[in-house]
């Protein structure tokens, strides 16, 4: 256990806890956009920045990546932080003006509009990398990644057309905070739409009731991974005994 101070509150936390976790455990709000319990922290959005003071030296760190330390003094809401966070939110608003999650954060942080120019009003991706992390860490497939440098950065499958590693599970669409990745089942096809790629997968039909109930590739993957008999997935869950 280490003892530290967050916003004047003395707090005890387990070693290996991040500042963000410690703060949240004590109901201290820190805004985040790229954190999700399912995956490891990454530090993409920088919204979670806080001020830490150690041996009388102050600096700004991303609280989702910084671990608690004995005697650390942390501030989550100084003027300097508000200024920088406001700037980040303005940049995000200009990048993704239609992203609900961004709008909500902006509202919560008191930012009404952005002074920056909107380039593509339909861009929904904030480049948080939650989708690529869930695909790598939880699904274990690494079918997608962030590609290109700088302003061209985006989420994509290799060459924008190689979906070999993708099992169509939809975890990316599910975890995406801004609906930049969409999933739709149309008839016998699952369609996953990313900012610049569109993937289609065949769904398996239940011989008994006729519904298309799961992507064939995902079932193959589960059969292989769990080493179970393919028979298990002959029927859809509803028609199974």
């Amino acid at each position: 256990m280490v003892t530290l101070t967050i916003d004047g509150q003395r707090i005890q936390a387990e070693e290996g806890t991040t500042l963000l976790e410690a703060a949240r455990d004590h109901n201290i709000y820190i805004p985040t956009l790229c954190v999700n319990e399912a995956v490891s922290p990454y530090g993409a959005c920088r919204l979670c920045l806080v001020e830490v003071t150690k041996k009388e030296r102050q600096r700004l760190v991303a609280s989702c990546l910084y671990f608690v330390e004995e005697g650390l003094i942390v501030r989550t809401d100084s003027e300097r932080i508000a200024l920088i966070r406001g700037m980040i939110i303005e940049l995000l608003l200009a990048r993704c003006p239609k992203a609900g999650e961004v709008q909500e954060l902006a509202k919560r942080l008191g930012v009404r509009e952005s002074r920056f120019r909107v380039e593509d009003e339909n861009n929904l991706c904030v480049l948080c990398a939650l989708c690529t992390r869930v695909c790598q860490e939880v699904v274990g497939q690494s079918a997608i990644s962030l590609v290109n440098p700088g302003t061209d950065r985006e989420v994509a499958i290799p060459f924008y057309d190689n979906s070999d590693a993708c099992i169509a599970c939809g975890s990316c669409a599910y975890i995406c905070p801004t609906e930049a990745i969409k999933l739709e089942d149309v008839g016998d096809t699952r369609i996953i739409t990313m900012p610049n790629c569109r993937l289609e997968f065949k769904l398996k039909q239940c011989p008994k009731c006729g519904t298309y109930w799961a992507p064939e590739k995902q079932l193959e993957y589960m059969i292989k991974k769990a080493n179970i008999s393919p028979k298990v997935f002959d029927l859809c869950p509803d028609c199974r005994e």
Partner: protein, 156 residues
């Protein structure tokens, strides 16, 4: 398998043999492959991914991240037109325009006969010589649009 693909795979195989299977070497490996093949063909990236047991998405991510890597074939001659501030104010734009006209390609493109690849760069550190065009690593300074034709002919 076509001979071309076989050649690519052999080249990649030779490069991979010199490295441990450690993702940390990815950039060096891709550099070596590009030195051999002049660019990074799709088959090469697939082979690197298989050989290193690194997901293709990661290899692709690295290959697209660095400007030094090219996923498209590059010309035998590499033209870099400096667009740094000093060159810019001395007329680099006109020089670039003329080169684009002469070669019939835009910046970032390669002529169909695979002779030239044209790229712009931001300052090559030879501001006093500006406008500068670097051809295959050799600096040609005080370039003007009128001198472009001559420059290109000297590399034919």
């Amino acid at each position: 398998m076509t001979t071309e693909v076989r050649e690519i795979e052999d080249s990649v195989g030779a490069v991979l043999a010199r490295y441990q299977r450690d993702e940390g070497f990815l950039v060096s490996i891709l550099q070596d492959v590009q030195t051999k093949l002049n660019y990074l063909p799709r088959e090469a990236l697939l082979k690197v991914s298989q050989g290193m047991e690194v997901p293709l998405s990661r290899v692709y991510s690295v290959a697209t991240f660095f400007k030094a890597f090219s996923l498209k074939p590059r010309g035998r001659h590499l033209l870099h037109v400096c667009m740094g501030t000093a060159c810019h104010v001395r007329g680099a734009v006109r020089v670039l325009d003329r080169i684009e006209q002469e070669l019939g390609i835009g910046s970032g493109e390669t002529t169909r006969d695979l002779e030239y690849t044209l790229e712009t760069v931001n300052c090559v550190g030879a501001c006093a010589l500006g406008p500068v065009v670097v051809v295959d690593g050799e600096y040609a300074g005080q370039m003007t649009s009128d001198k472009v034709k001559h420059l290109l002919e000297s590399f034919d």
